[in-house]
Amino acid sequence: MKVLIIIPAYNEALNIEKTVKDVITNTNYDYLVINDCSKDNTKEICEKNNFNVISLPINYGLTSGIQLGMKYAYNNDYDVVIQFDGDGQHEAKYLKDLVESIEKGTNIAIGSRFVTKKKPFSFRMLGSSLITAAIKITTGKTIKDPTSGMRAYDKKAIKEFIINASLTPEPDTLVYMLKKKMKIEEIQVEMKDREFGESYLNPIKSMEYMVNMFLSIIFIRAITRSKNIK
């Protein structure tokens, strides 16, 4: 199986080198760093280390970065795409478990923090639980860690990203995929806390994110048809 790991990076100069080295040493899959027009020297660090990097001329957000990765994977005929954060929170040693799950026939494998472990109680996890509930109501399936940024997609799911430009690397896409009758499996992984740099989620952005997710899940993705209309 041809596997591509896409690592979206925006202002991750402090983390990117470590993240990519982790990927290189712990896996033998192809990877692609997507530098979303970082203002710091992320690009220079990648070029200095001879990383496989693609640089966008305009900053356009995470969704655009992932979509570009999907296009690249589609054009180069990859079987599996793994979305992997460039901020050092994910560990590359778990990626082979995700690929194994895809090999067994799942369409999307999620690197989940809460398959065997309990969800801790915090404001952020409350948001995560609410999204889990929304997914349960609209699709009947339980996804314990919907906000996880570590996901593997198979060819069928990649194709969906190419067809539908409104798909984001967020939980509402999982509802869309479930409505398309895709199989989603969660794999237990560990995630570290962010070492350097700042998360883009401040309280206002978090609220915005939750409102967006709810509207999208309940009013848009929940009425997805299982077959594409031609």
Binding site: I54, L56, P57, Y60, S64, Q67, L68, K71, A165
Partner: protein
């Protein structure tokens, strides 16, 4: 409708119409985008000329005063205009995103072939 309101409507319509034509001549506005504005200004001129018709419709629809009906029409017109603009912005944003991706992929190809040689 009071005579003041009718005069204001006509003046504003004429100004917006002239502005539209001027901007098209300066090629700062596309003809297709100006159509709604032109239709709007004609509509408001008609409303001020045939004010008795406006009064008839507004009383039939149960408005307390014809001016309320006029405002409602203007608000509806602006909302539609706003919605059309939103769609345009989204379309443009998608196009820019595609261009952004295209440039990035071309750059990537160029860099990689030059490295190989």
């Amino acid at each position: 409708m009071t005579i003041t309101l009718r005069i204001i409507l006509v003046i504003l319509s004429v100004i917006s119409f002239i502005l539209c034509v001027k901007k098209i001549k300066e090629s700062k506005l596309k003809v297709i985008n100006s159509v709604t504005w032109m239709i709007g200004s004609f509509l408001f001129v008609f409303m001020s000329i045939f004010s008795s018709a406006v009064e008839y419709i507004s009383s039939k629809l149960g408005f307390m005063a014809p001016v309320n009906f006029v405002f409602l029409v203007i608000i509806a017109f602006l909302l539609v205009q706003n919605f059309i603009d939103n769609i345009r912005i989204s379309t443009l944003s998608e196009k820019i995103k595609d261009l952004n991706h295209y440039i990035a992929l071309e750059d990537y190809k160029k860099n990689n072939t030059s490295n190989d040689n």
